[in-house]
Amino acid sequence: MADWFRHAWRVARKDLLVEFRSRTAILSAAVFVVLVLVVFNFGRDPTAVAAVDLAPSILWVTFTFAAILALNRAFQLELENQALDGLLLAPISRGSIYLGKLIANLIFVATIEAIGVPLFALFFNVRVLPVAAPLAGVIALATVGFVTVGTLFSAMTVRTRFAELLLPVLLLPFMIPPLIWAVLATARLLANRPLSEIEGWLKMLAAYDILFVVLAFLLFPATVNE
C-alpha cells in the first residue's frame, strides 16, 4: 500500500516538475481563467441581474473550462517520444500511474482555482472570505469528482483523432451532476444560508467522488494495457 502511494507520488512529481520547469500550461490556464471571468463580466447586465445571483454559475463554468484544458494536457505530455510506453514499462502498478496522474491533475486544477476564486471575488464583488472554508470544501469535492473521471477519459481520448474535442464531449455528461450540486451549494453559501442546507448536496458530491475514484482506479488498466 505504501509502495503504491510512493510510486503514485513519483509519477505526480514528475508531471509537476515538467510543468514547473516550463510553466506554459499553468500560465495559459491562469490567463484563460482571467479572460473567461472578464468575458462574463461583459456578458451580463448589472442593472438587471445582481452579481451574487449569477456568480455561482460564472465560477463553475470558468472552472469547468479550465479543468478541461488542464485534463487535455495530462496525457498529451506522454505522447512525445513515446513517454507513455516508458511509463508503462516502469516496474510500478497501473493503479499507481493513475493515482499519480490524478494527483498531478488535482494539484494543477487546484492551483488554477486558487487563482480564480480571489479574482472572482474581486471582479464580481462577492464576499467569499466569511464562507472561505465551506466554499473550499465544495470546490474540493466537486473538483475531485470531475478530475477523477476526466483523468481516466483523457488517457483514452489522447490516442484518438480529435482528442481535444472528444474529451469534452465524453466528459461533460459526467461533469454535469457534480456541477449542478456544486452550483446549488455555492449559491446557498454566497447567500449566507446555514450549512445544514447544503449538507445533502455535499453528501451527493462525496458519494459521486467515492464511486468514480474506485471505478476509475479499477478501469484505468483497461485503457493503457496492450
Binding site: T160, L170, P173, M204, L215, A222, T223
Partner: protein, 228 residues
C-alpha cells in the same frame, strides 16, 4: 443468417403488438381526469425512457463482461445496445416536450430530470462518437467498455435526481419503493406497453448485433464495406 431473421421476426411481432397496445391505450383505457387526452403519450414516453435506461445499463454490463472475459460478442452487443438506446432516448426526448407544451405550457424546462436525461442521450452519442474515433478493434472495444461502465455508474444519479430536487417532472409511479399508484386499467396498459417496448428493444438489438457480426465476417474475408 439465422440471427438476422430471428431479429426481424421479433421486431415484426413487436410492431404488431405495438399497434395493439395503441388501440388499447387510445380506445379502451380511461382518459385521465386532469390532463385529458395529452396523458396518452405517457404510454410511449415512459416505456421509451425505460428502454433508454435499460440500454445504457446493458451497455455497462456488456462493458464489465467484456473487460473480464475479452469476448468480442459483448463488445458487439454493447455497440448494438447503444445505438438502439440512442433511438429510444430520442423518442423519449421528442415525446416529452410534446406532452409538456399543453400540460406545463412550455416545451422544455431546465429541471433536474430533463437535464440529466438529455445528458443520458449525449452519453450515448459520446459512446458512438468514441467508437467512431478509434479504428483499432481491440482498443475500441476496451475504450467503449470503460465508457459504458462509467455510464452505468452515472445511471443511479440520474434516477435519484427526481427524488433529490423539487422538480416539475412527475414522480415515478411504478418503479418506486411503495406500490404503484395508478388506476388498474391504466397500469395494465402501461405494463403492456413496457413489455412491447422491451420486445422491440430486443428485436432491434438482435438485428443490429447480426449486422455487426456480418460486417466483421465480410471485413475478415477482405470485402469492402461502406461506412455503416
Amino acid at each position: 443468417m439465422r440471427m438476422l431473421r430471428v431479429g426481424r421476426w421479433i421486431t415484426g411481432i413487436g410492431l404488431v403488438l405495438l399497434a395493439a397496445v395503441y388501440v388499447r391505450a387510445l380506445a379502451f383505457t380511461p382518459v385521465e381526469r386532469f390532463q385529458g387526452p395529452a396523458q396518452k403519450i405517457f404510454y410511449v414516453h415512459v416505456p421509451a425512457a425505460w428502454c433508454a435506461m435499460l440500454a445504457m445499463g446493458l451497455v455497462g454490463v456488456a462493458g464489465i463482461l467484456y473487460l473480464l472475459l475479452k469476448d468480442p460478442r459483448f463488445d458487439r452487443f454493447g455497440e448494438a445496445s447503444a445505438e438502439v438506446g440512442t433511438a429510444f432516448s430520442m423518442v423519449m426526448l421528442t415525446t416529452g416536450p410534446i406532452w409538456a407544451k399543453p400540460i406545463w405550457g412550455t416545451w422544455w424546462t431546465w429541471d433536474a430530470r430533463l437535464t440529466l436525461t438529455l445528458f443520458l442521450f449525449l452519453l450515448f452519442i459520446g459512446y458512438l462518437v468514441l467508437r467512431g474515433a478509434v479504428t483499432e478493434p481491440g482498443l475500441r472495444a476496451r475504450y467503449s467498455a470503460v465508457l459504458g461502465i462509467c455510464g452505468l455508474g452515472l445511471l443511479p444519479f440520474i434516477h435519484l435526481s427526481v427524488y433529490l430536487f423539487r422538480t416539475l417532472h412527475p414522480q415515478p409511479i411504478v418503479l418506486k419503493p411503495s406500490a404503484p399508484s395508478l388506476p388498474g386499467p391504466m397500469l395494465v396498459t402501461l405494463l403492456m406497453s413496457f413489455g412491447v417496448f422491451t420486445l422491440l428493444y430486443v428485436g432491434f438489438v438482435v438485428q443490429r448485433y447480426a449486422f455487426s457480426y456480418l460486417r466483421e465476417q465480410l471485413e475478415a474475408a477482405g470485402g469492402d464495406v461502406g461506412h455503416a
